[in-house]
């Protein structure tokens, strides 16, 4: 009986723990995958938002008002993402929402924002998010299309004609796969093989063996850690020398750590955040990039992750819209976002419009390779 009382008391305690919020600040909601398989996106994104919120408030806020960022963790799960969206819209009544971190989650909740008339600035890169344009949904990362275009440009320059693709069976890989299958034949290449691996798979030698049999000139691997690291290692273990392209999903130091020596010589498109020192001093993004790297190191004592940049840009763009339009009302934020032009962010230079809610093109990417365990920008 005592034990049962303990359980009841414990549950009652938990029930009374409701977080309290400050009043009269501009409320910005955020849904990020801080835990779960996409935590490599959500954790730096959340840290970035908190850092920017603190920096902004220390400098007096925007339009004289403080800013409060309410972050919910969707644990990389679509259900929790939907619940978080409803909470932000119905309970917290935020002016704008940043996130989610992944495409599947973004697509799940975008309808809620059109009906609530609140803008959503997603940190996910799927094309479906911004094409066709939903008046209330924006995104900040470079699109998969831009990444594939850059890879194919590089492949064409090197004279490859048969390409094999190896994609992960999750939202990110699936989106990449459809863009790859569209652009590879369109650019005059031949699709030698189309292999898939699961997000939790730990061995891709079977798929690579099949690709080996298909005699491709190069392999394009599209996924996020740890899969591509396994692919890189398996490739070395099988003794394959076929060139291997990666997607921007692995543009992080974690990938180099996981893949170890197998990462040497791999080529991929990446935002300029991975190699800030190699960006020329006169580049419009240089100042923003350096400020971000410095601020993050000061606030958290660790290196930035290029994925955190997506949230950085989302926040900066929203603040720009609020400041320029001198209004924190949802409809005004949306209208003013569409007016932003030539805004230098960490992922690229943004120009939004009513027809373009992504704001970037291929020039937001640089091609990089890994040399001696570090990123090297290619030209």
């Amino acid at each position: 009986m005592n034990a049962a009382k303990c359980v009841i008391a414990l549950v009652a305690c938990l029930l009374t723990c409701v977080p309290a919020f400050a009043a009269d600040a501009i409320k910005i909601g955020a849904i990020l995958s801080v835990t779960g398989p996409a935590s490599f996106l959500g954790e730096p994104e959340k840290n970035t938002l908190i850092m920017l919120q603190d920096q902004l408030n220390a400098a007096g806020g925007v339009n004289g008002q403080m800013v409060e960022v309410i972050v919910y963790d969707d644990e990389s799960d679509v259900n929790k993402c939907v619940m978080a969206a409803k909470k932000l819209l119905d309970q917290d009544q935020v002016a704008v929402v940043i996130g989610p971190s992944i495409s599947g989650n973004t697509l799940a909740i975008s309808k809620f924002f059109s009906s609530a008339e609140v803008p959503l600035v997603s940190c996910a890169a799927a094309e479906k998010i911004v094409r066709p344009v939903d008046p209330w949904v924006f995104n900040t990362p470079q699109l998969d299309r831009h990444a594939v275009t850059r890879i194919l440009q590089d492949a064409k320059a090197k004279g490859y004609s048969r390409l094999a693709i190896l994609t992960v069976s999750d939202g990110y890989g699936q989106a990449g796969r459809s863009v790859l299958k569209e652009l590879i034949p369109a650019q005059g290449f031949e699709l030698a093989a189309d292999e898939v691996y699961g997000p939790k798979d730990t061995d891709m030698t079977a798929q690579l063996t099949k690709i080996k049999g298909a005699a491709a000139d190069a392999i394009i691997c599209w996924g996020t850690n740890p899969g591509p690291a396994v692919v890189a290692r398996n490739r070395v273990q099988l003794g394959l020398t076929v060139p291997l392209y990666m997607s921007h999903g692995v543009a992080s130091n974690k990938f180099i750590e996981l893949a170890g020596e197998a990462a040497e010589g791999l080529v991929l498109p990446a935002g300029r955040l991975v190699a800030v020192e190699q960006v020329p001093a006169d580049h419009p993004q240089k100042a923003v990039l350096e400020a971000y790297v410095e601020g993050y190191a000061k606030a958290y004592g660790t290196q930035i992750s290029s994925f955190g940049g997506y949230a950085h840009d989302a926040f900066a763009l929203v603040m720009e819209a609020i400041a320029k339009g001198d209004s924190a009302k949802s409809t005004d934020i949306r209208d003013n976002l569409e007016k932003i032009s030539g805004f230098a962010g960490t992922s690229g230079v943004y120009t939004y419009s009513p027809e373009n809610h992504n704001g970037l093109d291929e020039s937001a990417f640089i091609m990089v390779t890994i040399e001696n365990g570090a990123w090297k920008a290619l030209n």
Partner: protein, 293 residues
């Protein structure tokens, strides 16, 4: 399909399958002694790998020391699980115990996430990265370690169960625990021992596989699932069947990915498992069950 590809698939399948087999062995040992399916078995495998990473990278031990400490640590974890979560509720119906082990697996996962983060980690292979080319297929030295250590462990367990007094006592508990306690066997102690041995076996599996597949806090789920499937495939309760089931499952998966479709390889393995169960309800090597009515 050239023979070198075939050989490559086979090698991959055997390597992967050995780990499934070791996990399945862990399931079997606990099941044999207590009749409970320990859903936290996969987490012992995870603990083996993650603890090695921790000891080696955070505390700076050399790899052999880190590995041994990790296995010991996981064994201790197994003992703790038995003491804190299983022993107090020994007389519960089986389904309650299953839910408790599910709770334990969630708890251990949460603990690992808290202590070591959600990242994936690499463990260095025991003897380097250079593949050995054999008849056109590449064999990783680590894969050889996996096969050798798995066989060794299997042999050691066989000797333990049929040769030592403790092993025979554990078997006695699985046949009839009341009779076992009547002849003076400390059933509770045997249960504790079974958990410790299962954790040890699982952790060894985790440690030898981690250099090949990398490890993170949530590798336990899929491994536990496949280990359970391997158990059933081989016939629940039969250690040899569990090991064989694991290897068969790994090879099926590898060939499925190679010949049919990499996307559906797991589905394929399960379809074959289902068909097998319908044809032979007690698994490949399961003993025909006879019950008194």
């Amino acid at each position: 399909m050239d023979p070198s590809s075939l050989l490559q698939y086979l090698i991959t399948g055997l390597t992967l399958g050995s780990t499934y087999g070791l996990t399945a062995l862990g399931f079997t040992i606990i099941f044999n002694t207590t009749g409970v399916i320990n859903f936290a078995q996969g987490e012992f495998v995870m603990l083996g790998g993650m603890m090695s990473v921790y000891f080696m990278h955070s505390l700076g031990f050399g790899e052999p020391a880190a590995v041994v400490l990790a296995v010991l640590g996981a064994t201790m974890a197994g003992a703790l699980v038995e003491r804190l979560a299983i022993r107090p509720v020994r007389d519960c119906p089986a389904i309650n115990l299953i839910i408790i082990t599910i709770g334990v697996s969630i708890f251990i996962r949460g603990l690992a996430m808290l202590l070591w983060g959600k990242d994936t980690h690499v463990l260095e292979p025991f003897s380097g990265n250079q593949p050995i080319m054999f008849l056109g297929a590449a064999i990783m030295p680590q894969a050889i370690w996996v096969l050798v250590i798995s066989l060794f462990l299997l042999g050691a367990l066989k000797m333990f169960f049929s040769g030592t007094i403790h092993g025979k006592a554990m078997l006695a508990c699985s046949f009839d625990s009341k009779a076992a306690s009547l002849v003076g066997i400390g059933v509770q102690r045997m249960v504790l021992l079974s958990f410790m041995i299962s954790a040890l076996v699982g952790a060894v599996g985790g440690v030898i596989l981690a250099p090949i597949t990398m490890t993170s806090y949530d590798v336990g789920i899929m491994l536990g699932l496949k280990g359970f499937a391997a158990c059933i495939l081989g016939g629940l309760g039969n250690p040899f069947g569990a090991a064989a089931g694991g290897v068969i499952l790994g090879v099926l998966e590898s060939f499925g990915a190679g010949f049919v479709s990499s996307a559906y390889k797991d589905a394929l393995a399960f379809v074959i498992l289902l068909i097998l169960l319908f044809v032979k309800p007690s698994g490949l090597f399961g003993l025909k069950d006879s019950k008194r009515v």
